[in-house]
C-alpha cells in the first residue's frame, strides 16, 4: 500500500517537473526603490482601497500565494489597487519571480524592509489591507489563503462603498 502511494506521488512529481523553463525577464525593468515615508505618501494619494503584499523571491510561502494574488488582481483590479513590495531581495531575483508568476500590478523595492517594519508586520509574506488614502484596516502575517484574502477584499469593498 505505502509503496504504491509513494510511486503515485513520485509519478506526480516527475510529471509536474516537466514544465521547468526559466522565465523571460527581458521586459521587466528594475523595481523602483521606496522607503516607508515614500510609500505612505503613495498610499495617501490613492482614491481606491489597496491590497499590499510584502514578498521576496527567496520566500517559499510567497510562491504559494502568488498565483492567488494574480487571480485576485485579475478579478478585483478595477476596484482595488494591488501593490507588491519586494523586501530584502535582489533586483534580478525580483524580476524572475514577477516573470514566473505574472504579477501585473505595481511593484516596489524595499531592500531594508522599512515598509513592513513601519506598519508593524512581521515575517514574510505579509498582506496589508488599506482603506482609500492609506488608512490601514488589517494586517495578515504569513501566507494568505483564499478565504482570508476574499473576505478582506470584500471588507474593503463594503467599507468604501
Amino acid at each position: 500500500m505505502l509503496e504504491r502511494l509513494a510511486l503515485i506521488v513520485l509519478g506526480m512529481l516527475v510529471v509536474t517537473s516537466c514544465s521547468g523553463e526559466a522565465a523571460d525577464t527581458t521586459d521587466i525593468g528594475d523595481l523602483p526603490s521606496i522607503d516607508a515615508a515614500g510609500f505612505e505618501a503613495h498610499l495617501a494619494a490613492l482614491e481606491r482601497p489597496a491590497v499590499v503584499n510584502v514578498w521576496a523571491s527567496w520566500c517559499l510561502p510567497c510562491r504559494s500565494e502568488a498565483p492567488l494574488l494574480a487571480e485576485a488582481h485579475a478579478i478585483h483590479g478595477d476596484r482595488i489597487e494591488f501593490i507588491g513590495v519586494d523586501v530584502e531581495d535582489s533586483q534580478a531575483g525580483a524580476k524572475e519571480f514577477l516573470a514566473e508568476f505574472g504579477l501585473m500590478f505595481d511593484q516596489f523595492f524595499d531592500e531594508r524592509r522599512s515598509i513592513p517594519n513601519f506598519y508593524g508586520g512581521f515575517g514574510t509574506p505579509i498582506t496589508m489591507f488599506f482603506a482609500p488614502h492609506g488608512e490601514l484596516v488589517r494586517i495578515h502575517n504569513g501566507v494568505v489563503d483564499e478565504r482570508s484574502l476574499a473576505l478582506n477584499i470584500d471588507e474593503l469593498i463594503q467599507l468604501s462603498s
Binding site: T16, S17, G20, L68, F101, G142, V143, R147
Partner: protein, 224 residues
C-alpha cells in the same frame, strides 16, 4: 498565525475521536489510525494537486509542499481520502458506513476550528446573530459555524440510519457535499470555490445510496 490552523486541525481530530466513541458500532480495527492515515495521504495529494494547478512544480519547489495554507485541492483530497479508506477496509464492507458519522463530526470540528483562526465570517448580513471582523462595522454571516452545525447534525442523522451497505457512507457524502454547497454561497471567494466538486460529491453519494448494494452483490458474484 500558522498555529491557529493547527488548532483547527486538532479540533477536527478531537471531534472525530469523540465521534468514534459515540458511534462505535461495527467499527473496523484501529479506526482512529485509519482515519488519520487516510487524511494525511489526502492532505499531501490535495496539496500537490493544488500546487500543480497553480503552476508551481513540486520538484523545483519541494519546500512549498508543507505550506498548506497555500491551498489544498478539495476534489483531489476528498477522492484520495475515500480511495485510501476503501483500500484499507476492502475486506470489511461495512467499514465505511461505520466510520461515516465520525467523519462528519470531524469535518464539523474543522469548520468550528474557524473560531481559533478568526475565520468564521462570510457574506454581509443583517441577521441578529451576525457579527463583524475586529474593528469593522460590517456584520457578516458566521458561515463556518453554520457549516459546523449542519455537519454535526448530519453526523447524528447518518448514525440513525439503518444498516445497509453504503447507505450511511453515501448519505454522509451527500450531507458533507450538500452542507458545503449550501454555505458556499455565503463565502466570499476569489476562484468561485470548488462548487462543481460539491455537486459531484452529492451525485456520487446518491449513486452509492441507490446502487451500493447492487455493486457489492455483482462484485461478489464475479469469478475470481
Amino acid at each position: 498565525m500558522e498555529f491557529t490552523l493547527l488548532w483547527a486541525v486538532l479540533t477536527a481530530v478531537a471531534l472525530g475521536w469523540v465521534g468514534l466513541r459515540i458511534w462505535d458500532e461495527r467499527l473496523p480495527e484501529d479506526p482512529f489510525d485509519l482515519l488519520i492515515g487516510a487524511a494525511l495521504v489526502a492532505l499531501v495529494v490535495g496539496r500537490l494537486t493544488a500546487m500543480v494547478s497553480q503552476g508551481v512544480s513540486p520538484i523545483t519547489n519541494p519546500g512549498d509542499i508543507i505550506v498548506i495554507r497555500g491551498g489544498v485541492h478539495t476534489g483531489a483530497a476528498a477522492i484520495t481520502f475515500l480511495t485510501a479508506l476503501l483500500w484499507k477496509t476492502r475486506e470489511d464492507r461495512t467499514a465505511l458506513d461505520a466510520l461515516a458519522p465520525a467523519i462528519l463530526l470531524a469535518l464539523a470540528g474543522w469548520h468550528a476550528g474557524c473560531l481559533w483562526r478568526d475565520a468564521c465570517l462570510g457574506a454581509p448580513s443583517d441577521l441578529p446573530w451576525a457579527w463583524a471582523l475586529p474593528g469593522s462595522t460590517v456584520n457578516r454571516h458566521p458561515v463556518e459555524i453554520y457549516a459546523a452545525i449542519g455537519l454535526a447534525l448530519g453526523g447524528w442523522l447518518v448514525a440513525s440510519l439503518p444498516w445497509r451497505i453504503w447507505l450511511r457512507a453515501g448519505s454522509a457524502l451527500v450531507v458533507a457535499s450538500g452542507v458545503r454547497l449550501l454555505t458556499e454561497t455565503m463565502r466570499p471567494s476569489i476562484t468561485g470555490g470548488p462548487t462543481r466538486w460539491y455537486v459531484a460529491g452529492m451525485i456520487a453519494g446518491v449513486i452509492l445510496v441507490i446502487a451500493g448494494p447492487r455493486l457489492i452483490r455483482s462484485r461478489s458474484r464475479a469469478p475470481t
